[in-house]
Amino acid sequence: MSASAFPQNPISISQTSRQIFQSVFPPSASAILPTPHATPSSFAIQAPQTPTPSHGYNTRHHPNLVSPSPVSLLPSPAAVFAKESRAWNLATSYLSFKNASFPDLVDVWFENFHSEPAKDVLEAIRYLISTTDDAREGTRDSLLEWYTCEVRRHFLGWVKPDIGIPADYDDAPALLEQILSRLTTAQSIYLHQLKAYLVRTERRRKLKKNLYVPSSEEEGNDDPRIQSFVRSLNSIISYSLPDPAWGGLVYSVFLELCGAAVGLPVEGEKEDEDDSITAVNNGDSTIQKEEDVLYQGASQQSFATVTDVDGDIIVDDDRNHLGNVPDTNDSKEYKEVGEEEVQRRKVKLKEEKPREDARKKVLEIWSSMEKLGVGGSGRRGERVFAEVINSLVTTYIHNRFLGVWVSPSAVGQELDDWVEHVLGRLVVDVLFSSKTTSAQDWVARLKKLSPRESFRASRQSIDNRRKGAMEVDAGAGAEEVDLKRRKEDLESWKRIAVGRLGRLRVGELFDIVVDWPDSLGGVEDLKSYITSPPTRLHLTTTFTAALSTRLLHPAAATSDILRAYISLIRAFTVLDPRGVLLGRVSLGIRRYLKERDDTVRVIVHGIMSESLPSNPEEPEELGELAKELGRGIPALMAQQGGGLEELDFDDMNWAPDPVDAGPEFRRSKGLDVVGSLISLWDSKEVWTKEVQAVLASRLLGTGEWVFDKEVRTIELLKLRFGDTAMQGCDVMLKDIADSKRADTHIRSGGDLRGDDPDEEEDSPELHTKILSRLFWPTLKEEEFKLPEEIHVLQQRYEVGFEKLKTKRKLTWIHSVGTVDVELELEDRIVQVPDATTWQAAVIYEFDESKGGAEWTIKDLAERLDMDESLTKRAVAFWSSKEVLRDSGNGVFVVIESMAEYEEIIDQQEGIRGTEAASDMDRGMGSGMDNGMQGVDDEISDEKKEMQKVVTPFIEAMLTNGGPKPLDQISMVLTMLVAGFNWGAEELTELLNTMRAEAKLEYEGGAWKIASA
């Protein structure tokens, strides 16, 4: 843009030679200085005002020819003007850039595009900048400004188009590298030209083709110019990198690289060491003023880190500062450290550690960005880096520790180490390689910067999106304070990491609880997290939400919920022994458990599972409850009345309730798992009833007489519920013991023997358990006819009993009891040691000697006076034992020989295919019915009761209100009948029954009373 401001007029040869002469033997300035015709005349006045050059956007030096006021005391303005304009022309034509993009590498540019300036050009430049005269000063500055503008023009015209970020890119690292390399190349070239010719022309001869212009410390006054130029250039660069795209690009690259650097698994791509960045780096170093050979030799090793005895990271910054390192001792140290580092790195490089590579790469990119002015110091690069680190912590923790619950947990230690040695090192490396263009800044930065500050600054920039958030405590020079602070910083980083870990663990707490006790480590990790009320609250709310979505819904089996609850109690007892958290999270689950109908049953079955035969159908039983019960009551259980505890002034371990304990919080030190479950219901009756039912089924469901385990369980339960509550169970156990004696007595009494001695051999044995009816739960009675033999035995037994206990009568409960069945079939003997009485009764009917080997279920039911569904179940049972089979049409026959049976099966398979055959296997699928039937029976009582109530309501309603459709009937019933909760199906069933009884009619979509 500014090129047009300096039209390069053709200059005659004679003029040129004179110009050269004059430049070699400079005449007195007052005599010959011309003003270049296109040079703004005002610069001479402005120059003293601008010891630091105006930055790039200031275009004041552009032609402003209104008042060409030459400096006084210039005797020959024309001569001066001519000389100057010639010099100007020569210089600018040499220094201006071709309208073309730069090649990718600086070297290439030097070889192909760069030409050593001709002598006259050098002279011209020198002429323009070499004087100390005030006026000449102005000229020099104006040339510098012109150069700045020229660079800008070229950059915007030819470099910027090359560094656009496409909306879509696949290879982010490559793209970033490309952009950075282009920018760095451009920057190097610009700077080279500047330094080689404009700022330090007098040193140029030493350089030859060496790009690495050593910095000269004696010319401190040059710094502001170069810095100003760099600043101007950087602002353009920064401007030409549009933020969302650029930030995103850097973010994605850094995320990947930093991830790799801190040990996250990454699709490892080993970058070639001699890549462009390195080269760029080398070229880039031309701007460095340090004469540090070592550094040049290992320019990419621009960092050094030492871990001191405290385990703290002391980061000695790289020497890439734009400016002088004032302390030469430091430099020496750097050298030594650097050498070691280089050696170490080399070894590592040979090992090809991707981690190290990535780390290096990050630093390379970062230093490139630094030089381009888009790096640290609160600029965009730092914000992006902070964001990257922020997400890295989370990602690392997630990748590394998700689902790792090994106990004892090393996670905390591991995380600490990681933060300290890996993450901390990376962060410090990167942030310390930050250098600023401002002299004060880097001097301050040169001191050992507290990592906390940098981290805090990073966080601030994340949080506030604020620019320039980096606060540097320049006064933090004192070593001790510094060390202490860095320690604190590491601590706070660790705290942050622990917090993240805690959040992760809270998130997976539900799984931890479910996996208990294999997940002890996870809980241990959490312990260090829940140290403040907010975190505790976070834990409880998150966990409660997880509970209600994942566990407390109808699809979860009660036993699963209970198991989770038990694990929860255990896990939270470890987590928070005071029980506040437990109390809070268990509220929901307890409330939910209370709503479940079968909670009590499942718990009691679990508690008594030791004495129950293992049930293959329900492997999910809560057997652990029995063990838990066996452990007895924790000592403090006795003190349940909380008030006493508070008054115990001798309790030296007393502590107030935790701050976040709710007002209803009761310290429940003594509550163990069983205690917690039992406290679900206040009433003991709920439990004792169920215990009795379970005990009854246990005592009666077997032919055994000895129930040691049961006695033990009941004794343990007495500890919980008290003797009185368990009285019924005591009686039950005593009944059994008494029965045994009575049974022995009656049997030995000889009453059982029939009059006919022959009969005895074949006749079955009969044992009886005599129950005190009042103390036993109501037993379900299914009436059916017993086989004659048994009936006779019973009568005889009665006689014996009445002899033993006068005035008492036996009432037989046919459906309760077991029968040892042995079936002799043609080719095998089937033994069923614990068949139920009704099963035995059914199979007895199939006895050939009784005449009937073929029965339909209906006939059987009639014959035995047995409920049809029960008969069905019995038949299904024997079918599953492969004793009976359906010979078709619902007629069941005995399978006398297996071979025959298999033949039939094969045949049927052939005919009907496997599906039907497998149905046969299961006894026409009635095995499936088996379970369902039980449920039906259970609820049918309730249903029948409701039917009785509802029937008159329906009658009255339809009598008085006329015909009504189903939904209306249902609605009215719901309104008027307490406890009516039937669905349409059940109601329809009843209505149909009533129609079958000719009470109702169905007509036109409505039910009505049958007309008589």
Binding site: E955, N960, G961, M971, V972, T974, M975, L976, A978
Partner: protein, 203 residues
């Protein structure tokens, strides 16, 4: 007809108010509670020949059904009634009307009933069941309240319709004079007119 029922189910989440319609919200819980209990009792006792049920689930408005007692003019016929309970029930009697056209000395053509327990002799111990039973017996025996009237009207020759006649001037006249007249005089005519009336209901 559904509006009441729907309203009550929509607006009344609790059971007590659910059972009563919107009209009974002010009546308080005691009325609906009492009627609820009466309904349950009625349902469970299953007295033959009488029946009643809240209309569309509105507890303050019931429909009753009475079967004519055997050996009366009314045997074989069924009659519908409407029972409207006041909000201070059972302190006040319900308003009972025959909705089936009726031919009876104590029932006028609009179905209004002259029965002492529904008027001044009402007591809180009566309930739907006793009302319906009383009405059923009224069908067989028209009201003889006149027997308790002052002695100068005491009749030598007892006959219900004459008694009623004698009380004409005391507003205790039969509500249906024709029915009263025919009651004893002409059973055949009575039965014919009754059947005629009753048929109107079925048409």
């Amino acid at each position: 007809m559904n509006s009441d029922a729907e309203n009550s189910s929509n607006t009344a989440p609790t059971r007590s108010s659910k059972t009563a319609g919107p009209s009974s919200i002010n009546a308080g819980q005691s009325v609906s509670k009492r009627l609820q209990a009466e309904l349950m009792q009625l349902m469970m006792s299953s007295t033959p020949g009488i029946s009643a049920f809240p209309q569309d689930g509105n507890l303050l408005s019931w429909t009753g059904t009475i079967k004519g007692p055997e050996d009366t003019y009314y045997s074989g016929l069924t009659f519908k009634l409407s029972l409207e309970f006041p909000s201070n029930y059972p302190m006040s009697p319900p308003t009972v009307l025959f909705t089936t056209p009726m031919f009876h000395p104590n029932v006028d053509m609009a179905g209004r009933i002259c029965l002492d327990i529904l008027k001044d002799k009402w007591s809180a111990v009566y309930n739907v069941q006793s009302i319906l039973l009383s009405l059923q017996s009224l069908l067989g025996e028209p009201n003889k309240f006149v027997l308790t009237t002052p002695s100068k009207f005491r009749l030598v020759n007892y006959s219900p319709y004459k008694v009623i006649q004698a009380n004409k001037s005391h507003s205790k006249s039969p509500l249906n004079g024709q029915a009263a007249e025919l009651w004893d005089k002409d059973p055949k005519e009575y039965r014919r007119l009754l059947t005629l009336r009753h048929q109107q209901a079925e048409d």
